[in-house]
């Protein structure tokens, strides 16, 4: 839309502003914590994640082996559950009314689905954050946005301690669309009173799986 002249002129303005002797690139001291202290997937990390998620009023369920039962319990009261490609089939055994995104559902169709069940890419214990990157079992972004309930299964070895740990994991595929989720949607715009559940899913439910299930076939490296 804009001709090369505008671009060239803006870049020229920037160069002029920096002067004939532009400031030297600054060295960046990175002596903050580059890695968390809790080991990935440790019981402490899982406890912290659960605690922080609950602090944001997400529903947290701890599971060790029977993911299907945990998932079924969290979705027992809904009649339609959207399941993106790549969610392990053995998690679905207790579900009825599963819906697939093939062919891709329209926005209105999505709006008529009650819940969505997904995996995740990584979870940050310290901040109570689950990150989706569109890998297997996570679907395109709209799937986890329009339905009012989002059930996400987090496996132990996906749980890292701190933000830098997660950024390091995500850096393997930085171009994927990323969604960082910390609790259900919320607003504090009216007198700073926090109201949970606005436009995004109002109901976030997280299953934290402490040990490999289904014969240890589930690992976080499936992406």
């Amino acid at each position: 839309m804009t001709g090369p002249t505008v671009r060239e002129e803006m870049l020229a303005r920037v160069r002029t502003a920096l002067g004939p002797q532009p400031p030297a690139p600054a060295g960046v001291p990175r002596d903050y914590r580059r890695t968390g202290t809790l080991p990935r997937g440790s019981a402490e990390a899982l406890d912290l994640l659960a605690d922080r998620l609950e602090d944001y009023r997400a529903t947290v369920v701890r599971s060790t082996d029977d993911v299907a039962a945990a998932v079924a319990a969290l979705l027992a009261d809904v009649d339609s559950v959207l399941v993106p490609d790549g969610v392990p089939e053995d998690w679905l055994t207790g579900l009825t009314g599963t819906v697939r995104d093939a062919p891709p559902l329209s926005h209105d169709q999505l709006d008529n689905v009650a819940a969505v069940l997904t995996t995740c890419r990584v979870a940050i214990a310290e901040t109570g954050t689950v990150v989706l990157d569109g890998g297997p079992g996570q679907g395109r972004r709209a799937l986890t946005l329009v339905p009012d309930r989002h059930v996400v299964v987090v496996l132990a070895d996906q749980v890292v301690h701190a933000v830098p740990d997660a950024v390091a994991v995500l850096a393997a595929h930085p171009h994927r669309p990323l969604t960082w989720i910390s609790g259900p949607s919320a607003t504090s715009d009216i007198e700073l009173v926090r109201v949970e559940g606005v436009h995004g899913p109002r109901d976030l439910r997280v299953v934290i799986v402490a040990a490999p299930t289904g014969g240890g076939t589930l690992t976080a490296s499936r992406t």
Partner: protein
């Protein structure tokens, strides 16, 4: 701002329709004269700013490496400024490589024209918007309205402000000047589809906004957003939010336009680990905000199929050219400085007459507008020139700022710019008085003389407090006494004691 002919009970803030979004209204003291009288506003602000700053204090204290993160954040930003040309072209290349289109805009008019053209080409008459300071700054909604395009703000507070015909008064919580009763009023009379019998419960109000916006999200063809940061190395753009309106806008429409100030670029993907800790904890006082979205160009089968990134100058290169003022461009718009500022807490955001209020506004607005440049604004009584004086230099902002912007020093520097514009100006009475004062204050002898004169007055008044002084002293004595003056000068006391040292 669109004009409404709604119920007379909802009066827009500010009352007079503002001119340019970057600076409207009178000088700071004149505007504050109005806002200081609004007891309701002051009560709202007092509670709100205190709540949020206590939260911030708690979650920043929780991180043992908070100071190291601030140091890293400050250094990354300084590095960005030093390498801005190369980082911008790198960002452009990576966005383009992933199917995005990059546009450049030197000023508000250019940016508005670019966005309008994109929306027109998409054939849309209505667009949904994510809260964005950059689009506020350029007055994009008005420009779109002039082209027959309805821009719907989707952030709750931003929607309140839009429906009320207000200007925002806070960077993060733009409707902080409105309480629940006023919001109920605004929704009932202006929303068009407010449920009957809507109460003033925050939850109910939020749910009314959800219902009001839902259909618009689902049918929108075009969305417009700002950007909290963009990564040069990967072409990734990030938006940080709470309500999910951002995700709706960034995901559902076919076309996405992002308007971003050129200073928002970050060098590497790794830098996210610094700013995604600094920003949420400083702004909302949360460990992490509910939602952060990141995308790179377009992703086939997921989200918009067309992505436009508009890189905006609009005065930023002016600020960049001023070495001492440059750090204002490091700002990540967290609003921590507003929440800790005692001046902001008393006057509210509208006294600053800009979409950028508070301490950061007091340095950023004048710089974007070319304070002190030949032909530009200057002087302590000019609306823009008065902004750097709207501070006691208490330093609370500097202490809170996650990227360690030394706002007090920048304020002092800009005061000097304001009073010493390029090309000079005829001296004011204050200038002459200050030059005279400087001569006294540069001489031990003259200052002793002043002390002797003060003691003379002290003896005449019997050392009693003084209740009244002529102007400009009246500015002081209107609300304060002058504590009693001494009956003997310091030099007389010392001379009697042992004699001045040589």
């Amino acid at each position: 701002m669109s004009t409404f002919l709604g119920m007379p009970t909802v009066r827009p803030h500010p009352a007079d329709p503002p001119g340019a979004p970057l600076r409207w209204g009178p000088s700071f003291p004149e505007a504050a004269h109005q806002t200081l009288r609004d007891e309701q506003l002051r009560a709202n602000l007092r509670t709100a700013t205190r709540t949020i700053r206590d939260k911030r204090r708690r979650v920043t204290a929780e991180l043992g490496d908070w100071e190291q993160l601030r140091d890293a954040g400050a250094a990354i930003k300084a590095d960005v400024m030093a390498r801005l040309p190369e980082l911008l072209t790198e960002l452009e290349a990576n966005v383009t490589a992933h199917g995005g289109v990059v546009h450049w805009a030197r000023d508000a008019a250019e940016a508005n024209a670019v966005v309008t053209e994109i929306v027109r080409a998409a054939g849309a008459r209505e667009v949904v918007k994510v809260k964005s300071m950059a689009t506020q700054e350029i007055g994009l909604n008005d420009a779109l309205a002039a082209a027959g395009i309805d821009a719907v703000e989707t952030d709750l507070a931003e929607r309140i402000v839009q429906l009320a015909g207000d200007m925002p008064s806070h960077i993060l919580v733009p409707a902080i000047h409105r309480n629940r009763a006023e919001i109920q009023e605004i929704f009932t009379h202006r929303m068009g589809d407010a449920p009957a019998g809507l109460s003033d419960e925050p939850r109910e109000l939020a749910m009314a906004a959800r219902a009001h916006l839902r259909a618009r999200f689902l049918r929108a063809e075009v969305a417009i957003s700002g950007a909290n940061m963009a990564i040069a190395e990967t072409g990734t753009v990030a938006v940080v939010e709470s309500e999910g309106n951002g995700r709706m806008c960034l995901t559902l429409p076919r076309v996405l336009v992002t308007v971003m100030g050129i200073e928002k670029v970050l060098p590497t993907f790794t830098d996210l680990e610094v700013f995604l800790q600094l920003l949420p904890r400083s702004s909302t006082g949360e460990r992490m905000n509910p939602y952060t979205s990141m995308w790179t160009g377009v992703t086939p089968g997921d989200g918009p199929s067309e992505f436009h990134l508009v890189l905006l100058d609009n005065g930023r290169t002016r600020a960049l050219a001023d070495e001492l003022g440059r750090p204002a461009l490091h700002c990540i718009r967290c609003s921590a400085c507003l929440n800790v500022c005692p001046v902001y807490e008393h006057t509210g955001g509208h006294a600053y007459g800009s979409v950028y209020p508070g301490p950061i506004g007091a340095i950023l607005t004048p710089q974007l507008l070319g304070l002190g440049e030949e032909g530009g604004p200057f002087g302590a009584h000019d609306p823009t020139g008065s902004l750097p004086f709207a501070s006691t230099l208490c330093g609370a902002c500097y202490e809170a700022c996650p990227v360690k912007i030394d706002i007090p020093s920048a304020l002092v520097h800009l005061r000097e710019r304001s009073l010493h514009p390029d090309g000079g100006h005829p001296p004011t009475a204050t200038d002459l008085a200050m030059v005279g004062a400087a001569r006294v204050l540069a001489s031990g002898r003259l200052l002793r003389l002043a002390g002797w004169a003060a003691a003379l007055v002290g003896r005449a008044t019997g050392g009693r407090p003084i209740h009244w002084l002529p102007w400009p002293g009246s500015l002081w004595t209107r609300v304060r006494d002058v504590p009693g003056l001494p009956r003997r000068s310091l030099s007389a006391w010392w001379r009697d004691r042992q004699g001045w040292s040589r």
